[in-house]
């Protein structure tokens, strides 16, 4: 479904990712793991068109995403929940969700999708009139994920959903992501919390300094000595 072949991208003159090749199939859950600054977020931004590629190609269902302006990419069914949540702070929870279904296709099903999102995150239903900027980090993460779901995505890209969350909120967040995956949405999960991520995804890529240094099934990676030493603290 999503295919990155030898993608390179940079901010200014410093290359952030070089020759990254990854792929995700329909309904799969794939991890993109590694330390801070490894290029995980840049990889997602390359898919969304928020950073210009200087090499390689990103395709979704065979469509070259470089041929589309960034705001046309969500129409294909790719939702990107950005790092640090980035909800619209001066909008209510409900407005954040509504704007998540801005593309014509998502708009047609807006009311129904919103009910689904509220059933996944009942807490948001209680807070629908609250300004998103006044909520706790964990609640904002729910808004951000819910807003992504409003697009009715085929691929949900999540950038560090556990960032800055208390352990109990991280549990809740990962549990919800698992539920969403079970409903048939493909997940591309960027995480520093490697053990957590490996328990959720089926396969993963490990990034270091902008390169894919390892890939494999979750079980393989969890048993890999190098991964254990570098990321799992074993």
């Amino acid at each position: 479904m999503l295919e990155l072949s030898r993608v390179s991208a940079s901010y200014g003159s410093v290359p952030a990712i070089t020759d990254i090749s990854i792929s995700i199939g329909e309904g799969e859950a794939v991890g993109l793991l590694g330390a801070n600054g490894a290029g995980k977020s840049t990889t997602l931004r390359a898919v969304s068109g928020l950073v210009k590629l200087f090499g390689g190609k990103v395709t979704f269902d065979g469509i070259d995403l470089a041929t589309l302006p960034p705001y046309r990419i969500p129409e294909l069914g790719i939702a990107h929940v950005p790092e640090g949540r980035q909800v619209f702070p001066e909008m209510t929870v409900q407005e954040n969700l509504e704007i998540g279904a801005y593309t014509p296709k998502a708009k047609a099903d807006r009311a129904r999708t919103m009910e689904l999102v509220y059933s996944i995150f009942p807490r948001l239903a209680d807070r629908r009139k609250q300004l998103a900027g006044t909520m706790s980090g964990g609640e904002q993460q729910m808004v951000a994920v819910g807003r992504g779901l409003m697009l009715k995505p085929r691929l949900l890209m999540l950038d560090e959903p556990s960032l800055g969350l208390a352990p109990v909120m991280t549990d809740v967040t990962f549990e919800k992501i698992g539920e969403i995956h079970k409903m048939g949405t493909a997940i591309l999960l960027v995480e520093q919390n490697v053990s957590r991520a490996l328990s959720l995804v089926q396969r993963a890529y490990v990034l270091e300094s902008g390169n894919v240094i390892m890939q494999g099934s979750s079980a393989e990676l969890a048993n890999n000595k190098q991964v254990q030493a570098a990321y799992l603290g074993i």
Partner: protein, 289 residues
């Protein structure tokens, strides 16, 4: 004494409605497109001339010509955004400053050339009309202008909060990149924001025409107050700009009444500095996250 005070407050409130239309436009452009439009006052001036010529050539009441000045300036705004502003949007904001400043100078000098520096007025049946309530004097033309200004501000609020395009504008003003992740086309949103802002300036011009003279530099009077109100009401905050504009109108009027006929602005700027000393981000800023 109380009557004088009440009268000054009323005078200020009524003109504050016009300031609000101008400042809401400035703050909308700043909030959404992230540029300062120094030419906003000149679009008020153009709105006035549109109403002036429609009144003198075709006998159309300035309040009616609102339905011409607003769409004309909306289209002008969309075109200016599309062909000029869009090209200079980028990390460096100097070109944007010079662009809107140049636009202001161009429009000023063009109107000097085309319309001359003469003061133009339109006399309507209600221009000299006034209501006397208690000991208070309420000029009808200014009251109508205020009422229409508030109605248009209310319509804008409804647009921003209940339509998808309006919400997209607010989303783009809060986080442009994430707005794109929602599928929002920023260029489209910017064009609508710029057009809407200019339409409001045009409305201000038409509403002024029954009681105010049109001349090429007239916009400068209003844009100064608008900038004060935009800063005081928090940059990019429509409701803040509206409230601050009404406050500034009242402050100016009180200054004229109690400090001196030429000293209205002393009170306005004193109030601005005082506000910024205690609320550096303006009245519309949320204090806690």
């Amino acid at each position: 004494m109380w009557e004088t005070l009440a009268q000054a407050v009323i005078n200020g409130l009524l003109i504050g409605g016009i300031y609000a239309l101008v400042s809401i436009g400035v703050t909308l452009i700043f909030g959404v497109v992230k540029i300062v439009n120094f030419a906003q006052g000149e679009f008020v001036m153009l709105g006035m001339y549109i109403s002036f010529f429609l009144a003198t050539q075709f006998g159309i009441d300035p309040l009616v010509s609102l339905v011409v000045s607003m769409p004309v300036l909306f289209v002008a705004g969309v075109l200016i955004q599309h062909f000029l502003i869009r090209r200079v949007l980028g990390p460096n904001d100097m070109p944007q400053i010079f662009l809107t400043f140049a636009l202001s100078l161009l429009l000023l000098n063009l109107s000097l050339m085309l319309f001359s520096a003469n003061y133009r007025t339109v006399h309507t049946s209600y221009s000299d009309e006034a209501w006397h309530i208690g000991g208070l004097y309420i000029p009808v033309a200014k009251l109508i202008a205020f009422a229409v200004a508030m109605a248009l501000s209310g319509l804008l609020w409804v647009f921003l909060h209940t339509t998808d395009l309006g919400r997209a504008m607010r989303a783009a003003s809060q986080n442009r990149d994430v707005a794109m992740l929602m599928g929002i086309n920023p260029n489209r949103v910017f064009a609508v924001a710029f057009g809407t802002a200019l339409a409001l300036a045009g409305a201000a011009g038409s509403l002024l025409m029954p009681f105010y003279s049109a001349y090429p530099f007239v916009g400068q009077v209003f844009v100064l107050m608008a900038f004060v109100a935009v800063v005081m009401g928090t940059l990019g905050n429509v409701m803040g700009a509206l409230v601050a504009s009404l406050m500034m109108g009242i402050a100016e009027s009180l200054g004229i009444q109690f400090v001196g006929a030429d000293s209205g602005l002393i009170v306005v700027f004193a109030l601005l500095l005082l506000t910024l000393a205690f609320r550096p981000s303006g009245l519309g800023a949320r204090r806690s996250r």
